[in-house]
């Protein structure tokens, strides 16, 4: 499929060199249906995603809504400098990256594993029940989830401590939430628990779209359960998985701060503070919008570099890529 498409593009490329504009007119004519199907939506996309980008000017201003873009003074790269200048920035960047990567990996491995396990379940009702129930926590707000986690891990009669004490593993209750170095683990597990079922849905859909004849043929050939998973299911999931991986690598710096903030406390500050929270704290003056926009430009640059380069790598490796 890839070879073919590249070939085709090459042919197109040569054609373009040769005949230029004429060919374009011809193409529009022959592909007008495809244009009709795409252009209106591309226009909407450009309108709502690209047109507001004039707001990026604010990142180079000391913007105040009262003065507006035209009246606010330009400050060059001040806002970016403010953002990067103190040493805390790197600590915060570390926290952001570590928590992002941990969540990314666990969510990928978890979702694909769960999809494969569910695919092995032949009992339809049970399968549907598992699917429906595991995705419920997605709808529960993080405030509630965080409170449940903190209560479960509480040293004052929390469930986990009670179990550990009853089984004699520990004698004094552990204050889990006070340990900075445990925060990343607790945070990762909490997010995994909340989002696992939700992120599995897409893989389930892809597996059920795979051709059952392939499975039957493999069975005739005497393939076992794990061989079928390894040779049919996983390769079938691979294009979607790769795609999602590239996309989520792009948002590795976009963590939000709600889950970290709600689970963290003054003892774990150095481990939970992420980029978005940090920006909120420094931007509390009225340069607010400017710093916020500066951060979003920074994140955009990081994201695009990541997405485009990973995409290139993947393409080189011969896998399905974004474009």
């Amino acid at each position: 499929m890839n070879i073919r498409s590249t070939l085709q593009q090459d042919v197109q490329g040569q054609a373009r060199v040769r005949t230029g504009g004429k060919l374009l007119g011809k193409k529009i004519k022959s592909q007008y249906q495809l244009l009709l199907m795409s252009i209106p939506f591309v226009i909407i996309l450009i309108l709502f995603s690209y047109v507001p980008l004039w707001g990026w000017i604010m990142a180079f201003q000391k913007y105040s809504p009262g003065k507006g873009i035209s009246g606010s003074p330009f400050v060059g790269f001040d806002n970016f400098i403010k953002l990067f200048h103190d040493d805390r920035f790197f600590l915060v960047l570390r926290n952001t990256l570590v928590m992002s990567i941990l969540s990314l990996v666990t969510s990928f491995v978890g979702a694909i594993t769960l999809a494969l396990l569910l695919n092995e379940v032949k009992h339809v009702l049970f399968k549907r029940a598992v699917q429906t129930i595991t995705y419920i926590p997605h709808f529960v707000s993080m405030v509630v989830i965080a409170n449940i986690v903190i209560t479960f891990l509480s040293p004052d009669g929390g469930f986990v401590n009670q179990i550990l004490m009853a089984t004699g593993i520990i004698h004094e209750p552990i204050y889990f939430m006070s340990k900075g170095e445990w925060f990343w683990g607790i945070h990762t597990l909490t997010v995994l628990w909340k989002e696992l079922g939700w992120s599995t849905i897409i893989y389930l859909a892809v597996i059920s779209g795979l051709n059952p004849e392939t499975y039957e043929a493999a069975e005739v050939d005497g393939a076992g359960r794990f061989q079928k998973i390894w040779h049919i299911s996983i390769p079938g999931l691979l294009p979607t998985a790769t795609m999602l991986l590239i996309l989520s690598l792009g948002s590795i710096v976009n963590t939000g701060y709600e889950s970290q903030f709600l689970l963290g406390n003054s003892l774990t500050t150095d481990f939970y503070e992420v980029l978005d929270l940090y920006a909120l704290n420094i931007s509390f003056g009225s340069g607010q919008y400017s710093i916020g926009v500066a951060l979003s430009i920074f994140k955009c640059v990081v994201s695009l570099i990541l997405v485009l380069s990973v995409n290139k790598l993947v393409k080189k490796a011969g896998q399905a890529s974004l474009f």
């Binding site: 374009l24 690209y50 779209g209 059952p212 695009l304």
Partner: protein, 296 residues
Amino acid sequence: MRRKLGAGDVTFNILNYMFLAALMVCTLYPFINLLAISLNESTDTLRGQVYLWPNALTWDNYRVVFQNEMLLGATLRSVARTVLGTALSLIGSVMLAYTLSRKEFFLRKSINLIMVISMYISGGLIPTYILIKNLGLTNSFWVYIIPGLISVFNVIIIRTYFDQLPDGLVEAARIDGANEFQTLFRIVIPVSMPVLATVTLFVSVGHWNSWFDNYMYNTRDNLNLLQYELMKILMQSTQQVTSNATGSLSSESLRQITPQSIRATMTIIVTIPILFVYPFLQRYFIKGIMIGAVKE
């Protein structure tokens, strides 16, 4: 299918079922807990001993939430938004994804690039607001539908699925004289039900849960959605805790509703309808296989 199960298979099945059952218990807990809290007297909930069932059963929390006379209209509008928004978004995404899966489409690369970049950029709230205001979309139902019509993420998901379809499918249809629209709607869509069901779920959940666009762009009560009305009730109960104007403390004043109880009740109310969407869509996960098999 009729193959005899080996000992290893049986062990695997048992372990698998046990693991999944355990997972269900874990993930069901927050919901059960919220259900219990929503059915419990809020003053008792405050004591923090509610886990799996209500200690002091009451419908008060629901009564307080449903007291809001705006709720019915808001629910209807939320349903309208979800149905209409999902339908339009799905149609748009499918068409866009289809054109991008056609290798010979000459704008394919450019559109792909425009799409992917758009996922990671944002001009911020102020320019977006000004744009939406200038388009005349403030105080209008369409602000719920149009700006978010195309979700690039979903388009990419659909396109990836289309790319995986057997190569001959589209070509054969085109050679048979079907135009692009016919090919898409008669040939491609019927064999793509699993992914379309998934995207339907993603989009409808997104629409159902949104309230920020309502809050930001529409100030009229007759455009308010369920999520926003509930959000306001939650805010109100939070305000009540912090207000001391009534300043009264007597044993009759037990009907005070806490934010915690309201939050639980709200979550139950908005989650239950959306929970029914998924089982309904699940059947397409299986149907897709059969159509796929027939087609080959």
